[in-house]
Amino acid sequence: MKSNILFILLLLVGCSAADHIGGNLSLKEIIPGEVNGWVQDGDIEKYDHETIFRYMNGAGEIYRMYDYREMEVLRLVKSDQSLIKIEMFDMGTPKDAFGVFSHTREGDEAGVGEGSEYRNGLLCFWQGKYFFCIISELGTEETKPIIFELARIITNFYEPSNTKPEILNVLPEESLNKKSVRYFNLPSSLNYHYFVSDQNILNLNSETDAVLARYGESYCYLLSVKYPDSNKAEKAFANFQSVYLPEGERLEMSQFDENKWFTSTLRENYIVIIFDAPTETFAKRLKQNVLEKIILK
């Protein structure tokens, strides 16, 4: 009897971390009751796809552009210290967790989880299908050690996914601004980073994978979109051309403004567009490099 109970207990303990790789987590089970004198303040709050606006007003749209499912908020307090909040977003899949992280990334890697950024009392990172923000209310540097300790507890609790969206592999390394890489599916994300049209002229949707990145010193953008099949890519490309490029301007390469070269192409089930390249040569070389990457795939 005793051995049976022991077996069941071992089984439960053994499951606790490993099962969370693909399962659902709760901050209640991750964060101990007390961490270096910091204790939980109030209940953990939960917000779903609709109620997220109650917590963060319009900022909820950033998460809803991805496969956001639910978030939890846990508050920690310690006497004479500013309040710390942990926000845990279930993004549905690792690639969407990476996507929402890539949406706001500007600074240097902070070395936490599968990608992170720290700035003045705010640490954001992703691991597996979760995206986290740990925030010191007053943004003071004194809280930096506890913020990173909490992050360590979280990232040790479950395994990383070790995956990133496959479409990132089409980005050429040469002159890439790595902090500018944005992964997304929807036109609202594209327009957030680079306004193209108030209509969905590239037929972006949950089936498409898109990556936008800056190249060189200027604001030259490479957009690559992967469609489920070449037929859908062809239709999207035709629609984009008909709206974005008037007849007579559908050239291999166009100059729209001073130092702003444009080119677009269709290759298999990919559309590749280069906006605002500083020179024709730059645009040609970048396009050639990305097409080579697509062919290699």
């Binding site: 606006f53 963060m56 007003n57 319009g58 900022a59 909820g60 749209e61 950033i62 998460y63 949406h103 706001t104 500007e106 600074g107 700035r119 003045n120 705010l122 954001c124 923000c133 925030i135 943004g139 609202s188 327009n191 957030y192 980073h193 680079y194 306004f195 193209v196 049209s197 108030d198 209509q199 002229i201 604001y219 008909s242 709206v243 974005y244 490029l245 729209f256 403004d257 906006f275």
Partner: protein, 302 residues
């Protein structure tokens, strides 16, 4: 034929670049004429910029006497009167019920000192104190706002994660129970708010707070003191589109100084331009705005 008409309602980046009539849209997106000087054309769209070097103390607090003086000067200039009481009397009658729509966003709220100066102005027109309310997130359940015969709109200017910038146009989003219904295309059609029965035709004066504007932000957790600066200004006017357009120009100028390059705003604050070109609410074209500058002119940026 159908395709042709369909194409006409679409806006693309190319339209902004190509069309001279879309200059205001281009300015919103940073795709053209980024640093052209303002042309002082005679126009009904008058915006008063008033600055005072000492309005924000070393402790970061707003000086109530100075902000009162700035408001008085701005109101005098806007209404072309010698005494602010004359202007307040033009705007309000004693029987009015007045909602002062403020903004309480934690890191950068409308300063209480300014709110009180505005309230004193309204009271100087004979409006009862009980018929005046200063509110933001509770306006839909506020009796004064529900019965308001007149409104005043005031808030600080800042970059915004979903609308590009949060200014006077966006400040009225709390007049709807579900603000997210205005989120499409980076809040492109915020100007529709001004057609709501609770709002339409009621706003007598608008004050865009430019004391310590936020000129850059990163994602949803969008405040960092490093991206604010002491501009020490107020923009006073009656056209929310023109006021936001001027505020946007000042933010862009500060971004140029800070980043050393014309870094595009994310997302583009095109709701200001659309308020002009699509909704005809006001004027976003800087060449058609009559900007009057008063007070401290160092690093004025516009």
């Amino acid at each position: 034929m159908e395709k042709h008409s369909e194409k006409k309602v679409r806006f693309t980046r190319r339209d902004f670049i190509k069309g001279a009539s879309c200059a205001a849209l281009g300015l919103a997106m940073g795709v053209s004429a980024e640093s052209k000087n303002v042309v002082m054309a005679p126009s009904g769209t008058k915006v008063v910029l008033i600055r005072d070097k000492s309005v924000i103390g070393v402790d970061g607090k707003c000086n109530s006497e100075i902000i009162q003086s700035m408001l008085d000067q701005g109101i005098n200039e806007l209404f072309n009167v010698k005494s602010p009481a004359d202007a307040w009397n033009v705007m309000f009658k004693p029987s009015d019920i007045v909602g002062i729509k403020t903004n309480v966003w934690g890191p950068l709220p409308t300063p209480p000192e300014l709110e009180q100066s505005i309230k004193r102005g309204v009271m100087s027109a004979g409006v009862k104190e009980t018929n005046i309310s200063i509110d933001d997130r509770g306006i839909l359940s506020n009796d004064v706002f529900n019965n308001a015969t007149a409104l005043i709109n005031t808030r600080p200017m800042r970059t915004h994660h979903w609308a590009g910038v949060g200014g006077l146009l966006k400040n009225y989003i709390m007049f709807v129970p579900e603000p997210w219904t205005y989120h499409d295309n980076s809040c492109a059609d915020l100007a529709k708010l001004w057609e709501l029965p609770a709002v339409k035709g009621k706003t007598k004066v608008q004050i865009l707070v430019m004391l310590t504007p936020l000129f850059h932000g990163i994602g949803a957790h969008h405040f960092d003191k490093e991206f604010t600066w002491k501009y020490n200004g107020l923009l006073v006017g009656t056209d929310p589109v023109a006021l936001d357009a001027v505020g946007l120009q000042i933010l862009k100028a500060q971004r140029l100084i800070h980043f050393g390059e014309e870094r595009p705003m994310k997302p583009s604050p095109h709701h200001i331009a659309f308020a002009d070109t699509r909704h005809k609410l006001g004027v976003a074209d800087m060449s058609k705005i009559n900007l009057i500058k008063l007070g401290w002119d160092e690093d004025i940026l516009i």
